[in-house]
Symmetry: C3
Subunit: 398 residues, 3 copies
């Protein structure tokens, strides 16, 4: 195992918490030429007061992790581009201000502005009623709110790891519990890591069912991109097996499913449910390519834990969120009741863990973008692919 | 433009926040004879832990602004009187403890104890269901909670301005966003200002629709007074065009609409909906006159942005809130659905701003109170006025 | 009156708050041989960030009080045993993270892990709709959430008292308001006290109706025990007059009502409603006796304020809460509507106070445990006792 430096920043079990902390490559002079810095600080003012932030600056890209919001990724910036987006929510909202069940289960939207918002773990999709088992063993109808609760759950443990051997991977790791008496109890262990000098970072997740009884679980990685990646003429490049419009509204423009228009005030979202091809090991890649084809954002992941891929196209005005979401998931962001009916909800035995890993990158330069597109094309080469001409009742509640 | 001193106290966009700060007239020796002080501090303990307060002491009156609660005014005190009131809510409650949709949409009442609580901006009135447009462009029924969300929204930006020329106006200004993805996005810019040596302060508001699509907006200034202004025999003096009881219960005592009784345990509120006369420029004034007619609280405002005036008479026991509300509003505090039906909801185009300004004063001395009453009487002189003998279905849902 | 030392730690009315503070017996050298310490500190990290804790270490037992959560008792520990339990909720959850009405009124369960969680004061039982009177004097249907709001209400005043005479009783006292405009307004005054060198502590409560009109009130002390008190073969010892199964599911095992099985994944709770016998003064005692009969947890209280006794048996897997609750209450934890129908809800006149006191102890050693069991047996000796063979519609909604 690699030699490494470790530093705990938060551990609620021992009541340990560092408000601010910093480390950088100058502390490790044996690794010449690598420049990086990891900074922990707390946001102040407005709805963001008290929100913990960890920035990982790997010398090329700064990845901003939000431990207070379930270890979501706020944004990833290089000196010439940003992976992320903006909308009416301009602060990094503290969970104390979020009531997920408000506005008919849409309360999550009051804090939604991150580059990667993790949806789950009890449910990931649209708000809807579902049956749970209450303390008396009776079925009880409750509202499962939009995109679940994990994004508004703070990490109970947070630490930093630095590999002291090449490639000197930098890691910010956290544990986020989502649990209650008489209900599911999950522990998300997540690590966000990057290698100095790259424009890539990896999210490695393990979700464990801490309960002694089986539990359902859903997870979806809501990865969101605005300009400069998104723009008129941008396109999504995916090794698709099947593309289905979520609804009739989306179906009307089905032929434009993989391209984007300019910001358009009042645009109503289009949403596509896909299955993808992968390589022999079940690994796949998707990309958003900028209009000039000089930039791309890619996501690499395995299909086995993440078989469902959703594209969210919301080319509204920039003030209202000009954004697209590329969303690998354990299933589709419909109500849990519908996803269960279709057999897509993950079942975790007592103590069992689910694992998923995503690598997100910014690719710069026309040749590099072209190579990425070629790689993705190769994943689907010679395999069947279909763009559905109707809304598929297996994927969309009617 | 006047020379002025400016100091930012909070700016969440730059993660800037001053926990405590103070400035007073001794810093500006060129203005002899003016004594004033502005103090920023944070409340501690109980439900008020973490609430920001700014006190503007202008030498005669201290106005207490609550940036954490949407720049509401907690109270305004002189050495012999207070504009404000008390009830079961004794702390300045942090929004983290408020769930507006709880108790059937009445959660707002758990933090209600301010002299001026701003209601709005998505809705101002009684809780009720209404249709919103969700992310898929579908109509969705949601609960709009009592008096909206702006009172439980913290300022993202807070600053102080001091005019360095006569009259040396002192200003505490803030920006309070109310927005979400897939919903209205407003920015309230508000300034609370006062001139040293006076017993008056002004609230100057601008509400901008930050969205690229039109939005509805409602606003109401819930200005609340208890003793010593309110007491048995106190009366409200307004240049009314028409006074309507909100409901049959209020109608029973309609002839006493402008006078107040003593505290009465179990008193059920009376509520009146009014239209007012103004001067040639559309400016008007209202007053609450104390029983001895030695004190009055006045509010001056323009009728164009604030055409609807509500009187709330709640002469319950002091422990339960012995209070009256004088409430200039863009419309009446009914459900938004009803107000829309009656054509009273403000419509803001993309980027458009709504502006309103109120000046609130304490008037001391019988001659001064008499002069104020004469001034108000003159506004209505020779114009029609009516106290309705029935509940008006244009103003009250049946 | 005894000489005593007093120290205020929090007083929100004067904006006074001590983040950390400590005092111990070395400050009072006149009391030789007594060793004790009282420590105030703040929890950090995760959902517990900002939660105030006061630990009373009396030399034999450390009692952990949670002012931020309504002065609940987290646990009481000696060097060889703990009164308390564990489940999926592993942090001491700040009320800002609790939305009592979420999950169909079960939001309370996201913070439930204390040894003594006080339920009340507006309601104590299962979530259910009930009618309240709104501001307009109209009946309004609202959801009263599980176990009420007092456990998620922070103390507005907190102080420490040390008796400077034998027995040198140590007290941590607090005031917890539960109130709102247009609704009940209660003030809970509570004192947790213990005598150095003992393994006992006392909770002395006064609940005052601060309103000028009568209010209903319910209170229940949810006292919860896991290992080492609870284990296979543990038993509850109570001077019962009548034991009734809450439901048919519980009834199936009615003959085992006073004994406990081992942890059993997926076990669905059993719940019993009891009336108890007391001594001539109406005082009674109950105990949980460990499997080896070498440990017992006792609760002593008066039947007049606490006539209803509930046993909650939840021998689920330890990860999911292997626990039993011994719950003295003003009534049973059914919906308030049902308890009102049965005439069991407390009615408090304007200004009236309700008082209750519980002494909780850890008893160690077989002879001591036997003596305790004999004492409890004596309370019921020669008096009628009955284990019901059906579910009693007077106690359980059908």
């Amino acid at each position: 195992m690699a030699k490494r430096f470790e530093k705990v920043l938060t551990d609620s079990s021992t009541n340990y918490y560092l408000e601010s902390w910093q480390i950088d490559s100058s502390s490790f002079p044996e690794f010449k030429g690598r420049q990086w810095r990891i900074t922990k600080f707390v946001l102040r003012g407005g709805r963001q007061h008290g929100v913990d932030i960890v920035e990982i600056d790997n010398g090329q890209m700064t990845v901003t992790v939000v431990p207070t919001r379930g270890m979501n990724i706020l944004k990833a910036c290089t000196n010439d581009a940003v992976l992320g987006w903006s909308n009416a929510v301009r602060e990094v909202v503290h969970p104390a201000y979020i009531q997920p069940e408000s506005r008919g289960g849409l309360g999550w939207l009051e804090g939604f502005n991150e580059m990667m918002s993790r949806c789950g773990l009890e449910s990931t999709g649209l708000p809807g009623t579902d049956l749970i088992v209450d303390n008396q063993g009776n079925k009880k109808t409750v509202t499962l709110p939009l995109h679940g609760r994990i994004s508004n759950s703070p990490a109970s443990r947070l630490w930093v790891e630095v590999e002291l051997e090449e490639p000197c991977r930098l890691t910010v790791a956290g544990e986020v519990p989502e649990g209650r008496m008489f209900g599911p109890s999950y522990l998300l262990r997540t690590a966000v890591s990057t290698v100095p000098g790259t424009t890539e970072f990896t999210i490695s997740d393990e979700v464990q069912n801490l309960s002694a009884v089986p539990q359902e679980m859903e997870i979806l990685y809501h990865c969101n991109y605005g300009p400069p990646l998104l723009g008129e003429g941008a396109r999504v490049v995916v090794p698709y097996r099947k593309v289905s419009a979520r609804d009739e509204h989306t179906l009307q423009d089905i032929e434009k499913w993989d391209t984007y228009g300019p910001p358009e005030p009042g645009f109503v979202e289009h949403c596509y449910f896909l299955t993808l091809h992968g390589d022999a090991d079940g690994r796949t890649a998707v990309a958003l390519v900028s209009p000039e084809e000089e930039l791309a954002a890619s996501i690499r992941f395995s299909l086995e834990p993440l078989p469902a891929f959703t594209i969210w196209k919301n080319t509204a005005a920039e003030a209202d969120g000009y954004v697209t979401g590329l969303e690998p998931g354990s299933d589709y962001p419909n109500s849990r009741q519908f996803e269960r009916e279709k057999g897509r909800v993950v079942q975790l035995e007592a103590g069992e863990s689910y694992r998923a890993e995503l690598s997100l990158a910014l690719v710069r330069g026309k040749p590099e973008v072209e190579a990425l597109c070629d790689e993705i094309a190769a994943l689907g080469e010679g395999k069947e692919s279909e763009v559905c001409e109707r809304v598929d009742p297996e994927l969309s509640p009617m």
